[in-house]
Amino acid sequence: MTDATGHHTVSAGEAIAEFVNTSKRFGAVLAADSLNLRIRKGEFLSFLGPSGCGKTTALRMLAGFETPTEGTILIDGRELASEPAYRRPVNMVFQHYALFPHMTVAENVAYGLRQRRPKLPGAEIALRVAKALDTVRLGDFGPRRIWQMSGGQQQRVALARAIVNEPKILLLDEPMAALDAKLRAEMQMELLGLQRSLGITFILVTHDQQEALSMSDRICIMGKGRIMQIGTPRELYDLPANRYVADFVGRANILPARVRATTGARAEVALADGLSVEVTAPFAVPPGAAVEVAIRPEALRLALAPEPGVPAIAATVTHMTFFGEHIEYLLAHPVLGALQVMLPRQAERALPGAGVGAMLHVLWDPGAGLILGQD
């Protein structure tokens, strides 16, 4: 299914896996802190966060390499928290592939099928291995040794070795981290195509937000062992729940403010310099409350002169960085501090002579930016 924004959608009803108050403690370190998450059948879900945020622990608990200290995990309706990895209907693509060096490509791919009891007939195994290798476009590479394969090819072998088992869930632990940028982009497209055609639930662990944003149906942002926010890429980008998410996904100017008045989903807030701006309020806030507001660099505009009816912050340009299709301005304001503004290339033409040192007006359109919740 595809929605109006071109996104693949998954019915919210059916859960293929579920974390229920799942915690994992390593000595004094709480690596996963009461996770609650329903993973939908057929979706592409990413765990996104910096290293040490608990995303890998969450994945390893699903795979069965770690046992939760508290809480449980359901896979396909069965309680599996203490079931060993080899009895779970999930397969994993490892970060460094973990291919068996003493076996050929085909033998690596056949490994999972050969573990089935009662045994599968050899002819069926050969057929399914050939099909899996075709799927990852390695049809002729079956007899090769692992060390004869390039990094990108090894990645495909690892993928084939997992999908040949037709798992209920495919787990991907930073599978693209070791590939160069071009190969990574190719592999991302391929992986996405594969997920759509196989209909298997994919769970990806990554620290690369571009990867997560471009591939996922939903992203689960992790930090300090906790789930910070779960949502579609657009929801996370447009409505980050808190400072952590606003900061981690994309870039944001985060400013302290005080609520003056609220009307529906909008709020009028005063910035530190007293300027009143209108922002989105995703939840109810009482007038007078001290809050943080976030605004994306591309949501702000720059002008030589203020426009009537639009709040403007007068600030000095300190840096300009050219990125080709857009330009990033860094401006300084005596009270608000540094502000990032991102302009498309053609908007630059409306600012003749506005180089470093120029005084410009940062325009804040009504409704741009939003109030952040607590972490």
């Binding site: 795979a63 069965g64 390499f65 060993p84 990895a85 080899y86 009895r87 999930v90 397969n91 994993m92 490892f94 460094h96 973990a98 291919l99 068996f100 060096p101 003493h102 076996m103 050929t104 033998e107 056949a110 490994y111 999972g112 050969r114 573990q115 089935r116 070795r161 997992a162 088992n165």
Partner: protein, 285 residues
């Protein structure tokens, strides 16, 4: 003045080359020449060209029999004891204890094998374990000067040489491969047979070779724990060169031992290569 590359290579290889030429090749040639000679009238060697010494090898058949039985048996026993130990050290012990336990494996080496063998003589002798057993009413048992005592001694003495190569190959085994095998549905014992064991075979090969070659030439342990009743080719050689002073026959014995060793080791290497080539089938059995 620049030294040519060939010159540099020759200079670098000279010490080792000289070492092997003088201390290995030359003595071997001497032994080979002696083996075709005769015993001198007053002992030692008298030049001749005869195959008589080789024809007479049967006189020392027992020494060959003992060596060819106990050296492989000792290697096998050492392997069967060392593998689980190395596995435990490499894969089951926390990093905090690993070094300590590894040191404990070497600690016996801090004392001479001579002294340790004396300890075994006492333990296995009449007033050692057999005494204890008979005190407990478990009957009379003679241990010292039996093949069992020699086997025990050689396994005990050479165990670390087996443990370390296996430990190293298990230690560098990528543990994620075992997770991958588990993830793909292999229960622990099958991932051991299909992943751990085949990938640790190089260590097994090195350890076995090391222990087997040394055991084939063993002298001290059969001398002390076999008490002249269970003796190896090494003991026969000492007897021939030093007691009987029949250098020609001793040389024939020595050449035969070297030949047997060369053949067995070559066959073993061939076998390992075959396993290596077909290891995928072993791995997937």
């Amino acid at each position: 003045m620049a030294i040519s590359q060939r010159m540099a290579r020759a200079i670098l290889l000279a010490p080792a080359g000289l070492w092997y030429a003088v201390l290995l090749v030359l003595p071997l040639i001497v032994v080979l020449v002696y083996s075709f000679g005769e015993r001198g009238a007053a002992g030692g060697y008298a030049p001749a060209f005869t195959l008589a010494q080789y024809a007479n090898l049967g006189a020392r058949w027992t020494a060959f029999q003992n060596t060819l039985l106990l050296a492989p048996a000792g290697t096998l026993a050492a392997l069967l004891i060392a593998y689980p130990l190395a596995y435990f050290l490499a894969l089951r012990v926390s990093a905090r204890w690993r070094t300590t336990l590894l040191v404990l494996v070497i600690v016996p080496f801090w004392t001479s094998i001579l002294i340790r063998s004396y300890a075994w003589i006492f333990l296995l002798g009449g007033r050692g374990i057999p005494q204890l057993l008979s005190d407990l009413g478990l009957g009379d048992l003679r241990l010292i000067n039996t093949p069992f005592a020699v086997l025990l001694g050689i396994v005990y003495g050479y165990l670390p040489l087996m443990v370390f190569p296996i430990y190293v190959s298990l230690e560098k085994l990528d543990k994620r491969l075992l997770e991958a095998a588990g993830d793909l549905g292999a229960p622990p014992w099958r991932s051991f047979l299909q992943i751990t064991l085949p990938l640790s075979l190089p260590g097994v090969a090195t350890g076995s070779m090391l222990v087997f070659i040394l055991l084939m030439g063993e002298y001290l342990i059969p001398q002390m724990l076999g008490g002249g009743k269970v003796f190896f080719v090494g003991n026969a050689l000492v007897d021939l060169f030093l007691q009987s002073r029949n250098w020609a026959f001793g040389s024939a014995l020595a050449v035969t031992l070297v030949a047997i060793m060369l053949v067995t080791v070559t066959l073993y290497m061939r076998f390992l290569k075959r396993i290596g080539a077909a290891r995928d089938d072993v791995g997937l059995m």
